[in-house]
């Protein structure tokens, strides 16, 4: 299939699919992180000024916190919060190792320190160029650290099999066609009603009916297939 997914073959002979995330989504996540950092630094600056007055002690502590948050925030988030900074969490992204496992200290530090290299010569030009030429959208830091930014795997809730009376198919369907039919019925409640009816109309050669009746017949076929 021609899609953006990446298949990982595990020792158990199972194919796991991960979806690497592209530059735009990651740029959004970076922007969110950056804005959050700016806000936090601003609030902290005001707070130290308020609590400590105009003292140099407050300024010194502020600079230490500035250093720790600037370099440490993404690393700590990625190691302790499942590969997600706040921006990545918002955008539904996460950092994993190339084998799909969670990142550790070394990988996370390397990829975040090399963000400086990706920034050069300006505005992450190197990182963007590197991502555009790499089939898994890795920037330089990702290549060196052996990491990957993917969409967080989302799981939809599993539903019980179709209830209601079953109806046999008028003629046999291939496994792909059966899957398409089951998928349609499972997704039906997320689709707009008019679109549902339109799709049901398309199935007229199979059901011999149109509109609501055709949709009900499709449900009955699926009940027959799954039970």
């Amino acid at each position: 299939m021609l899609d953006g997914r990446l298949a990982l073959l595990t020792p158990e002979g199972i194919r796991l699919s991960l979806t690497p995330a592209g530059p735009v989504r990651r740029a959004f996540a970076w922007t969110i992180d950056f804005v959050l950092w700016l806000i936090a630094v601003f609030v902290l600056a005001i707070a130290t000024r308020f609590v400590m007055g105009d003292s140099n002690l407050g300024e010194g502590l502020f600079l230490v916190v500035l250093f720790l948050s600037y370099w440490g925030y993404p690393i700590l988030c990625e190691v302790y919060a499942g590969g997600k900074t706040l921006g990545k969490r918002w955008m539904g992204l996460e950092v994993v190792r190339e084998d799909g496992l969670p990142v550790g200290w070394r990988e996370s530090s390397l990829r975040n320190l090399l963000l400086v290299a990706d920034f050069l010569p300006m505005m992450y030009a190197t990182g963007l160029l590197c991502m555009l030429f790499d089939h898994r959208f890795r920037r330089l830091g990702d290549l060196v650290a052996g990491t990957l930014v993917i969409y967080s795997p989302k799981t939809r809730a599993r539903k019980a099999a179709q209830s209601g009376e079953a109806h046999p198919l008028p003629f046999p369907l291939t496994p792909e066609q059966q899957r398409a039919l089951i998928d349609l019925v499972e997704r039906a409640e997320h689709l707009p009603p008019s679109r549902c009816l339109e799709l049901a109309d398309l199935a007229e050669p199979l059901t011999g009916l149109r509109g609501e009746a055709s949709l009900a017949r499709l449900r009955a076929y699926v009940a027959g297939l799954t039970r």
Binding site: L114, L143, V144, E186
Partner: protein, 318 residues
């Protein structure tokens, strides 16, 4: 087999896996590998028999989470950091002695050349800095100052914060710059060496200022310059690997080089942070007599050099 029957048969397994996954604590479930293999088999069956996409997607999510739980559990490696710093760090620095020589040349060589030039032909100093900057430096190290090396009445903690923020960031930038064939890292080292050479030579011309300046610099320079040079070594290693990956592909060569050099980077960052501590609280104090500072500074240099020459010898590599 119909899907409903299949689901009924495997429901218990899936439930058990789901509860295992919901438990965030590291479990001492010895059945984990066996459970995982059963789960994988059920997913393979569900895919092969063309069961509903919702079911296979759900199973895929379970398998992915189990995969991470099973293989992603970090190995217990007690005292990794201590071993890194005490053994791996000096060993790997010694392995990279050619690069160390190069960065020393880039920093100390340039500093010495520029310094000698300014020492014998002082007017050359103006080609690097204007006179306001030079007088500012001169006033910072004048013997009458309470806090040496600072502009106004800046506090120890404030300067400590500044040194941490500034110096360790330079260290990290030098490392990252090394990736581009090492050129930006070398440039950073040469630039810092030049700066140091000009100021050192200029301030050494006045004996009173010279004593204050050298007693200020000597202690923390042992850690700070070493940290900078080593981050340069780490960056250059990456850059050279990109140019000459050897028998590996460039990507794999970079990954293994970064693994190899990472303890050096950590060590360099820690050394620079240590230097900030000395620079903020020790070097700037005018209460400590210069002689004490020279003795302690000399000891620090001896310790640093001795550490990289002797530490970690005769121990097996990790």
């Amino acid at each position: 087999m119909k899907q409903a029957l299949f689901e009924a048969q495997h429901e218990a397994l899936w439930q058990r896996v789901a509860t295992l996954l919901a438990d965030k604590q590291p479990s001492n479930e010895t059945q984990l590998p066996a459970l995982y293999r059963q789960l994988c088999q059920s997913m393979a069956l569900a895919r092969q028999r063309g069961y509903s996409p919702l079911l296979t997607e759900h199973l895929h999510g379970l398998v992915l989470a189990m995969h991470r739980k099973l293989y992603g559990t970090p190995l217990e490696r007690p005292m990794t950091l201590r071993r890194w710093l005490g053994v791996e760090f000096p060993r790997r620095v010694r392995q990279e002695w050619r690069l160390l020589l190069l960065v020393c040349l880039a920093f100390w060589g340039v500093a010495a050349a520029v310094g000698l030039l300014v020492w014998f032909q002082p007017h050359w100093a103006y080609s690097w800095m204007d006179w306001q900057e030079l007088t500012r430096y001169e006033s910072m190290y004048s013997p009458s100052k309470e806090h040496i090396g600072r502009d106004g009445s800046d506090d120890d903690v404030m300067m400590f914060g500044f040194y941490i923020w500034n110096n360790v960031s330079i260290c990290f930038r030098t490392f990252a710059g090394g990736l581009f064939g090492g050129i930006p890292a070398l440039f950073s080292l040469v630039f810092n060496g030049m700066h140091f050479g000009v100021i050192a030579a200029w301030l050494s011309r006045d004996p009173a200022v010279a004593e204050v300046f050298w007693s200020f610099v000597i202690t923390h320079a042992s850690f700070e310059i070493t940290g900078l040079l080593l981050s340069g070594v780490a960056g250059l290693r990456l850059g050279l690997t990109l140019i000459r990956p050897g028998r590996l592909s460039r990507r794999h060569a970079l990954i293994s080089a970064s693994r190899h050099i990472f303890p050096v980077l950590v060590g360099a960052a820690l050394l620079t942070a240590l230097a900030a501590f000395f620079e903020g609280f020790w070097s700037a104090s005018s209460l400590i007599p210069p002689m004490t500072k020279f003795i302690v500074g000399g000891l620090c240099w001896a310790m640093v050099i001795g550490f990289f020459v002797f530490a970690g010898r005769g121990q097996h590599a990790a």
